[in-house]
């Protein structure tokens, strides 16, 4: 992959090529292999022979040839024809005329829904989406998740076999199932985003960063479903969070919390786009968790300094979020806003009941927030112990470093070295 620009072109075609192949030949597993072979051929040929005039048609042609060879070779043709004959044409993406492979239709949504099929586990949905929709190679996906290629290959093969077992997976889901299916796609894209956002590695020339890929795919999803408020909210949340990426980790790799970030490093274009999306989505239809989280991110991003943050508005948004998506983590986040808007004592009232919540017993964040609020309340010794407790439970190295530094700052005088 010598030219990162070309890589973007062929990967953008991936879901549409796959959609065309599945519609024509049925077999998702073989079609996906053929797509990967065509992408490899593109990587080999385009840099020297030039980009074809119609990259998508080129990829469909090459992939079809591989797929037909494969079908002939393993004698799967009879089974395939039987399968095609079984399909109900009325609500089936595969029910189109003979020249469908060249028809310009957008299969991106269909392929996304398929990769996030409810018969697959979340990690499998994530892996398959990155391969079949984002067009990444198994090696690139494995590198992004820091697992051996063989492990990731197993995950993908298993997922494809499972999809083959599900009768007619490419059928359009019934209208009643559609919201849940789209929600699954949104969740998978969100997981890809948080994985990419959390990682410090990746984003190299050979492995596109997962954060960038998640935003690209969320844009695709938004293009397919422009009126879905939660999809708009998801894209907005990603843009508004990713806008702060450069300010989150300092030069020596330490995590920089929101309040201490250099806000001039934030990406103004992404913030503007995110805010526009939230503003358009919020007044229309039912409000969902992604829209509210995006609205909260927008309030943070709009503040020129940490002190200028409108915490009262953030508290109200968390209250709404708690009503539609209750959970101890949301309560904990609300407590942070309450501490800033109304003072640490009101926040401690919210946090203390959570200390016994079994669901949070392995979450360092509970103690990190507790420590912060105790510090605001002037209870330095308790804050010191809570920071140490949080550091012990943290599994992120930069965050643990940050929590240990916070504890050290509050160390009782007597135990400091002379």
């Amino acid at each position: 992959m010598s030219d990162p620009g070309l890589d973007v072109v062929w990967r953008a075609c991936a879901p549409q090529v796959l959609g065309a192949l599945v519609r024509r030949y049925g077999r998702f597993d073989l079609a996906e292999d053929a797509l990967q072979e065509a992408l490899v051929a593109a990587a080999r040929q385009w840099p020297t022979e030039g980009t074809p005039d119609d990259p998508k048609a080129w990829l469909i042609r090459v992939a079809s040839r591989r797929l037909v060879d494969r079908l002939r070779a393993d004698g799967a043709r009879a089974r395939r024809e039987e399968r095609v004959a079984r399909r109900a044409p009325a609500n089936d993406l595969s029910a189109v005329g003979p020249s469908d492979a060249t028809v310009d239709r957008d299969d991106t949504l269909g392929v996304m829904l398929l990769c996030c099929h409810p018969s697959l586990s979340r990690p499998s949905q994530v892996a398959l989406t990155l391969r079949a929709v984002a067009g990444l190679t198994t090696a690139q996906i494995a590198r992004s998740f820091l697992v051996p290629e063989s492990t990731m290959a197993q995950r993908i093969v298993r997922a494809k076999v499972r999809l083959e077992e599900v009768a007619d997976p490419f059928a359009v889901p019934p209208v009643t199932e559609m919201p849940a299916r789209v929600a699954a796609v949104a969740h998978v894209l969100y997981l890809v985003f948080t994985e990419g956002h959390a990682a410090t590695t990746g984003g190299t020339l050979t492995t596109p960063s997962l954060g960038t890929e998640a935003i690209r795919l969320a844009r695709e999803l938004h293009r397919s479903l422009p009126d879905d408020g939660e999809v708009s909210g998801l894209l907005a949340l990603m843009l508004l969070t990713d806008a702060r990426r450069c300010a989150r980790i300092d030069a020596d790799g330490s995590f920089v919390p929101l309040a201490e970030q250099d806000r001039t490093l934030w990406n103004g274009d992404q913030i503007a786009e995110g805010i526009e999306l939230v503003d358009a989505a919020l007044p229309v239809g039912p409000v969902g968790p992604y829209q509210l989280q995006a609205a909260i991110a927008a309030v943070h991003d709009e503040a020129l300094t940490a002190e200028a943050t409108d915490w009262t508005q953030i508290e109200q948004l968390y209250e709404m979020l708690e009503r539609i998506a209750p959970g101890p983590i949301v309560t904990l986040n609300r407590a942070v806003a309450v501490a800033e808007a109304r003072g640490p004592l009101a926040a401690l009232d919210l946090i203390e009941p959570l200390l016994d919540d079994r669901r949070l017993r392995h979450t360092h964040r509970l103690h990190a927030v507790h420590a912060h609020v105790l510090e605001l309340a002037g209870r330095t010794d308790d804050a010191h112990s809570a920071y140490l407790l949080a550091a012990r439970q943290a599994t992120s190295i930069p965050e643990q470093r940050h929590l240990l530094a916070a504890a050290k700052r509050l160390e009782p005088e007597s135990s400091s070295p002379p």
Partner: protein, 130 residues
């Protein structure tokens, strides 16, 4: 999420699977042992196929290890074992799973007679999300 599952055991003589060689494991009858092995094989096959199993190794007798310690301005080597404890590290598994609950489910299934299983989250180089 990555977790390490550590198998601590005291097989005598040292051998794998450790559950066959511990005092407790020896007391199982052949039928119980067969059922235990089959269940474990199923778990392993499932984890390999799902892509949850990243890597695993069974370790040789702790007496075969070499221990390095810093002394003065250089390191010195001694022959193992590392510690004079009853149980020794007998093997490890690195798994990449969806949730802590899934990791706990897997780790619990590793606890065979005489084994002590330790589940530890792996740390990672990334930061938090917000």
């Amino acid at each position: 999420m990555k977790y390490v599952i550590l198998i601590h055991a005291n097989p005598n003589p040292w051998g794998h699977p450790t559950g066959h060689f511990t005092d407790e494991g020896r007391q199982l009858d052949a039928f119980q042992r067969l059922a235990m092995d089959r269940k474990f094989d199923e778990l392993m096959e499932g984890m390999a196929a799902s892509g949850e199993l990243v890597v695993c190794e069974a370790l040789a007798d702790p007496g075969s290890s070499t221990i390095y310690r810093w002394k003065g301005d250089t390191h010195v080597a001694t022959e193992g074992p590392y510690a004079e404890t009853k149980e020794h590290l007998a093997g490890f598994f690195l798994v990449d799973v969806e949730s802590r609950e899934r990791a706990e489910e897997i780790a619990a299934a590793f606890a065979h007679p005489g084994d002590v299983i330790e589940l530890r989250p792996a740390m990672w180089a990334g930061g938090p999300d917000a």
